[in-house]
Symmetry: C2
């Protein structure tokens, strides 16, 4: 029987240790910038993207350890996006994971530069791995103006406050989905997966990425501030696009569970160790029950 | 006789055309973000880094056309750094190249995201070139917290207002020097240069990078706002570190010319077409006379 919690705990430790080694030491010049990069990286986080990356590598016969540095790059990129999203000019959030956001502690200039540095470090780490160029391409396409940065732009843009399902799907796909999809494909690339396997991993990632975002929207309405680490209902208050306002709570919950089923179906095409990916697909929405 | 102006005019056209093709079309979704990326890229600029990259490729027997996409990546990265440096939380500049800075026209959030997107696009472009991984590594190391972003951090940091020569040298090396050095090495990498050739190109780049920055500091004192495209003496007014305050005008001019000589000496080790690199070394300081 696969024990997900034990699996997650062990993998989180691996990721944290690898991050610690990949980041410049906090004593290294310029000290405050390196402290700031570490503050946001080590304030918490489920390490979902690195864990998915390692699990997808194993699902096509590769090793988690070979995929671990790629997980480091993914977490650096994810953390950069949170830092910049929280900035006063963007979402203007004071809390992240129950702690003051980076710009509240280190100032705005340092937060911008720490984000820039983490984004850059992600590509520095990837460039030193086998398959460095295809891995970098995958990450850059997921992160740029046609992916994460574009999704954040559109999420902020005033004209998008209309609760339109098509717009919502596109924003979620760009802002969250593409990076989770890339994490899954990059694990496959590190293990030398073929095109069919990469396609299946990509579809798996796309489905759980969307399920994850719907779950987040549900939690933003139903959870407590203590659990969430940020103000409850803050998305609705800011009139940010969210699934609940768009299709209602019941449909949102049903859709999240449907997506998990679709994700798991993709695993039929793979021949490695699939138990972690099955459990992880359930995990992204199980926080709801 | 080598005609530098004709050479520069032709190369600037190549770079601008390649940038236009590499950037998402301004009609592509999200439109305002893609417009913003293009605004800053096409507002002007000497395209020094791409031109150096092509010239160094030719100096070791490669072709300018093969190095051109690498030049696109360099210019995207350089432009990202200007956009973020100009932000209110950073240098808070209203003018760049005689035009309103990006955040004045498109707003702060869009400026942050356009910078992020250009930084990401630089790596997307490199990943699709031959030698994609070593090229990405070179660029990331020059741009991250140990390079450009770290230099900008230290330039902003209050404790650095002391006019200390060692600090000044380190900031200039990180903020400007390393990217120009990387541009020169990346041209060499694209042409398959060996380690000795890359070292020589790196030293050439390091010397002209520093000369270029000293020249900038001199121009900030001596030029007119019309020529400079920003407020004259603005660095001194903000008590930003600069060479003139640190070692005086005469020493600064002498040092800039010395560095040009050191740069040209490095070309002895190369066997390709060196005329452009010789002329470019003089060009970075000739604006002074």
């Amino acid at each position: 029987m696969f024990d997900l919690q034990q699996y997650l705990d062990a993998r989180v430790d691996w990721v944290n240790e690898a991050l610690d080694q990949a980041l410049p030491q906090p004593t290294e010049h310029p000290v405050r910038l390196h402290e700031a990069m570490r503050y946001s990286l080590f304030i918490g986080g489920k390490r979902l993207r690195p864990i998915l990356c390692m699990a997808t590598a194993e699902a096509v016969g590769g090793t988690a350890k070979a995929a671990l540095p790629i997980g480091v790059a993914l977490e650096c990129l994810h953390t950069y996006s949170l830092i910049h999203d929280d900035l006063p000019a963007m979402d203007d959030d004071d809390l992240r994971r129950g702690q003051p956001t980076l710009h509240k502690v280190y100032g705005e200039a340092n937060a911008i530069l720490a984000g820039d540095s983490l984004l850059t470090l992600a590509f520095e780490v990837l460039a030193q791995q086998p398959h460095g160029a295809p891995l970098s391409l995958e990450l850059a396409q997921a992160a740029g103006s046609r992916g994460l940065a574009g999704g954040q732009y559109e999420d902020l843009a005033e004209e998008q406050h209309a609760q339109n399902r098509e717009t919502l799907m596109r924003i979620h796909a760009n802002k969250t989905g593409k990076l989770i999809r890339a994490a899954c494909r990059m694990g496959g690339i590190s293990a030398g997966a073929n095109t069919d396997q990469l396609d299946a991993l990509g579809r798996y990632g796309q489905s759980i990425g969307l399920a994850f975002q719907i779950a987040d929207d549900i939690l933003n309405v139903t959870s407590t501030q203590e659990v969430l680490g940020k103000s409850v209902g803050s998305d609705a208050k800011r009139e940010k696009l969210n699934y609940i306002a768009c299709i209602g709570m019941e449909s949102a919950q049903a859709e999240a569970h449907d997506l998990v089923g679709q994700a798991i179906k993709q695993l039929d095409a793979l021949s490695g160790d699939k138990a972690p990916l099955q459990a992880l697909a359930h995990y992204v929405v199980e926080r709801l029950t």
